[in-house]
């Protein structure tokens, strides 16, 4: 499991791991519990340009369909193809095998404006 304190978070429950200008994105453990049994993911198309806070893809659970937002702006350069056959990885391993997509960031500095782990934890607590 990655060191989640090094990740940054969006208020919409995505985590971001930035290496250079490449951001790997997934949903948090808190989010996967709320979404519950994931049965289908509609991943973004490669090369699609996404804007920060824009819906990038959809996760479907037994409960409902959920929009997943791009935490940073840029271009989709990779998606987790494994999820086509094994969508439950989003529940089982939200920070590792269940990652969703990678963005080549047009403005990597925006990473700093995302929530830190402690900020995210207090934001999600106060939302309850």
């Amino acid at each position: 499991m990655p060191d989640t304190s090094k990740l940054r978070y969006a208020e919409t429950h995505e985590w971001v791991n930035l290496q250079g200008n490449i951001a790997t994105v997934g949903i948090t453990d808190h989010a996967q519990k709320e979404i519950s049994d994931v049965v289908f993911v509609e991943l973004p198309k490669l090369d699609r340009a996404v804007k920060q806070k824009e819906s990038a893809m959809i996760i479907e659970s037994v409960k409902a369909a959920f929009d997943i937002y791009a935490p940073l702006s840029g271009k989709i350069i990779k998606v987790n193809d494994k999820l086509g056959q094994r969508p439950e990885l989003v529940n089982r391993s939200p920070y590792e095998e269940g990652w969703l997509f990678q963005i080549e960031c047009s403005n990597p500095k925006d990473f700093e404006s995302l929530l830190t782990e402690s900020q995210y934890n207090s934001a999600k607590e106060s939302a309850h």
Partner: protein, 341 residues
């Protein structure tokens, strides 16, 4: 009732394979009693009260004067002219009004929803577990029958009924006693194979069983005939009933739309309100949709125009802006396992 305790799929499978218990105290209970109660209900509801006898239950619709559906209900006959009605939570006030409007003075109509609670125990091991934990005698109890049992000296009603398509029971009691039943199921059920389940599993189970959900598949814009519930509408019963004339006209003219089951042929899930198309033309709307854990695919129900209702018909459903292929199939998706008799 929460949407789930652990996971919808786990609770769904638990119910099909072993046993789950659901807190369904949100259901409403009306007590209808007094001289003329039979005649009053016979005229007020769609099904034929003559199918009842003491200890028996019937399913019925409650329609307005236009034949549109106000609720789907269960009628429990305690004695002649003494009945309990089980109604949906969302309809308690409206249903009470709809009954009250037609009730003669000799009949007392009492809303006991505040004092009564219900725990549903569903799944193949239900009978064994209830007999063991509470000392009930249930082997002889047939489907859609109920009997009085006692717990802590207080009477409770146990019916062989439920919404999941599995064998199972519903226990109606005072609020306090239901709390005790629940706590005992929580503390002793696990080692016998019974776990709590939530609203999410209740929905996937009932959908697979092809059971309609009021508010989704049935509402005040639809008639019981369109919903495929004609078996619970006694159009020819003596004296008629509220809504009959309109339903008769609808039947004679032919139904313009029907509630059908469908199976998705591609991955996304069709959910309520999504439009249905046939050969590129709008043909209806989805009223329920989910992944079906036992069916092993994405399933749903919806209203389709005449001509699209035959099983095998190819349809498309608009999901997130795309048309996704689906096929009309016969209901239920998963065979019901109710006890015979």
């Amino acid at each position: 009732m929460p949407v789930y305790y652990t996971s919808i799929i786990a609770e769904h499978n638990q119910t099909r394979q072993s046993c789950s218990f659901f807190d369904v105290s949100h259901l409403g209970e009306f007590h209808v009693k007094g001289p003329g109660a039979f005649r009053f209900l016979q005229y007020r509801i769609t099904n034929d009260m003559n199918k009842l006898k003491d200890g028996k239950i019937i399913y019925s619709l409650l329609c307005d004067e236009k034949g549109l559906t106000l609720d789907d209900i269960l009628v429990y006959q305690n004695k002649p002219d003494d009945y309990y009605l089980i109604v949906n939570a969302g309809g308690i006030d409206r249903d009470f009004e709809a009954f009250h409007k037609y009730a003669p003075e000799t009949v007392s109509l009492e809303n006991q929803s505040g004092q009564m609670a219900c725990v549903a125990i569903q799944g193949p091991k239900s009978e064994e577990i209830l007999e063991k934990l509470f000392g009930f005698r249930l082997k002889e109890l047939g489907y859609y029958r109920f009997k009085e049992e006692r717990l802590k000296g207080e009477p409770v009603w146990v019916s062989r009924s439920g919404y999941t398509g599995e064998d199972g029971f519903e226990i109606f009691s005072s609020n306090a006693l239901a709390g005790l039943v629940w706590d005992q199921l929580v503390s002793e059920g696990k080692k016998e194979g019974a776990l709590p389940a939530g609203l999410g599993a209740r929905n996937t189970l009932r959908l697979e069983a092809g059971n309609v959900l009021y508010g989704n598949d049935l509402d005040t814009t639809t008639t019981p005939l369109e919903a495929g519930l004609g078996w619970a509408v006694a159009l020819d019963k003596e004296g008629g009933f509220v809504g009959r004339d309109m339903l008769l006209v609808q039947k004679e003219k032919g139904l313009k739309r029907r509630l059908v089951g469908f199976k998705m042929l591609d991955k996304p899930i069709a959910r309520e309100h999504y439009p249905i198309y046939k050969e590129g033309k709008k043909a209806g709307v989805v009223t329920s949709g989910s992944y079906g854990p036992t069916a092993g695919c994405n399933i749903g129900m919806g209203y389709v125009a005449k001509g699209a209702e035959t099983p095998g018909t190819s349809i498309e459903i608009e999901i997130h802006g795309k048309l996704v292929k689906a096929e009309v199939v016969a209901l239920p998706f998963v065979a019901k396992k109710h006890k015979k008799g």
